[in-house]
Symmetry: C2
Subunit: 322 residues, 2 copies
Amino acid sequence: MATIKDVAKRAHVSVATVSRVINNKGYVNEETRLLVVEAIEALNYVPNELARSLFKKQSRIIGVIVPHMTSYYFAELIEIIENFIIEEDYHVMVCNSRDDFARESKYLKVLQQYSIDGILLVSNTHRIHDYQDLKVPIVAIDHHLSDHIPSVTSNNIQGGILAASKLIEAGCTEIIHFRGPSILPTVQDRTTGFRSIMDKHRVAPNSFDLAFKDPDPQEILSCLEKLPNVNGIFCDSDVIALSVIQCLKQLGKNVPEDVQVIGFDNIELAQMITPRLTTISQNKEQIAQTAVSLLMKLIQKQPIEATHIEIDVNLVERETTQ
Amino acid sequence: MATIKDVAKRAHVSVATVSRVINNKGYVNEETRLLVVEAIEALNYVPNELARSLFKKQSRIIGVIVPHMTSYYFAELIEIIENFIIEEDYHVMVCNSRDDFARESKYLKVLQQYSIDGILLVSNTHRIHDYQDLKVPIVAIDHHLSDHIPSVTSNNIQGGILAASKLIEAGCTEIIHFRGPSILPTVQDRTTGFRSIMDKHRVAPNSFDLAFKDPDPQEILSCLEKLPNVNGIFCDSDVIALSVIQCLKQLGKNVPEDVQVIGFDNIELAQMITPRLTTISQNKEQIAQTAVSLLMKLIQKQPIEATHIEIDVNLVERETTQ
DNA sequence: TTGTAGGCGTTATCAT
DNA sequence: ATGATAACGCCTACAA
């Protein structure tokens, strides 16, 4: 690997001059510039980013911590986030915390060690202190962690409202809300929104907690059997909805004729399955863009307007409701 | 951020001593060691990985380049790969090439700049020269790029054979193979295996190329309409299979009564949809493990036994075949 | 306009 | 057992 010294030698100039042409900084005569460029190409020189980062104390790397990668929603979100980050000429280091606090802490430490410039955190844990101690700019996604940490989430209350309204409107009378773990603020908000509409229509929905990613079919089945007259179901993720639909079929119920189902997230697969899934769509594009631009402002020490931003969701009606 | 100097000062020792305790290397008196440890904790010191990497010329980072992250198969694969890499005490930098050669090259360069220790490459491109010039250890996954680059793939021929055998055995007579882009060796191998069995039974399958990730339903529909008597379909990915099943329903055909369908990959969702998808399962766990251990050997300059390794696949029979 | 030299935070090779 | 010190590759005052 050629270094800046090699280039300097070959171009018969000093390293300082080479550095100047690399960074387009300071005065440098056009002729010598050409000489240097030539040497750079001849040697196939690429600056060592580690040395550069060491000096500048910034790495142009953004750490993205997610609880899962195979959670389809997150996979899709990450891809979009990466897009925006690349546009800012930064790079992404994806870290999978596996919803495990120890791993998350470890990553937080590792990211610091690499002089990461900023962190995008998607986390279900609530060890707020740890994040606050960090001197690295950080933006939370999908969860509002604390008032001191800027965050971007979907408007989950609105999501609950939209789902409830649709179900009511579609004539459902006996309703289940299969939600995520109800300790999560996200889930609580959705529940609040959902209940507000149900209350208004004097319907008392039954809520059951499930895992977002690996809902247990046995559990779903037993809930379903307990409430044989259910005709409307709201699920806190599309994956949960898939499982629910499967259980419903297993019990001989047709979707949407007997039971109507609404998911959450609008993952790409939602429209590839049969019947195509009606769902509350999270605006991944806007979530990603907002979070990245917030983080960039933080990194550049620009003032930010709001510490918590909620992105509108919308109902995408497909074939599991009527 | 405290540095090694700060720690040295506080512990009243030299930086050399601090370095020794950090790395558990060389002689250091137990008493002074304790002193140093104390200082480290008091200052909340974490070694700067950039400086360390700069000196050692290795970063303990593995770059993983994938063509997509939202391709569910890759997302699942990445997660498993990450597991194995973490076990080796390395870190992962995930790079999404978006199947674009320019982006892939860019990443290759960036990874070099960060003194990445090794690369795991999942690529559909064929610019072999670029990889060979790289002095970084590299292992290809899912595609056999060249004899000089170690690679790990599924036994795709076997996959084709398994699918064909099952379809024949299940009594299918009019058969379609919806495959991926047929320029890909992966796809060619599956086709070879598939055809070999078909030939033996004097069945002439119809092959159509589709995109792995975003198969066009219009295209699928028109193929299906051209061959109204089809009763067996082999798809080169589960995602393609989903689309096909959807089109089939649209044409009023039942799966598996009228048409039997086999997918490829065995993504987690394959068993969550209705009907549960019969598919050729790629052994992601073993692919990941093999690739990582190959890469580790390369990094440690150990000899490797085989340059190309194929991992067995197996047929998982579910509800789209009978 | 260009070059010299010191420093970024570590590690490792010497001495001591 | 411990401490100076020279790298690692780069950037930037400051000097020339």
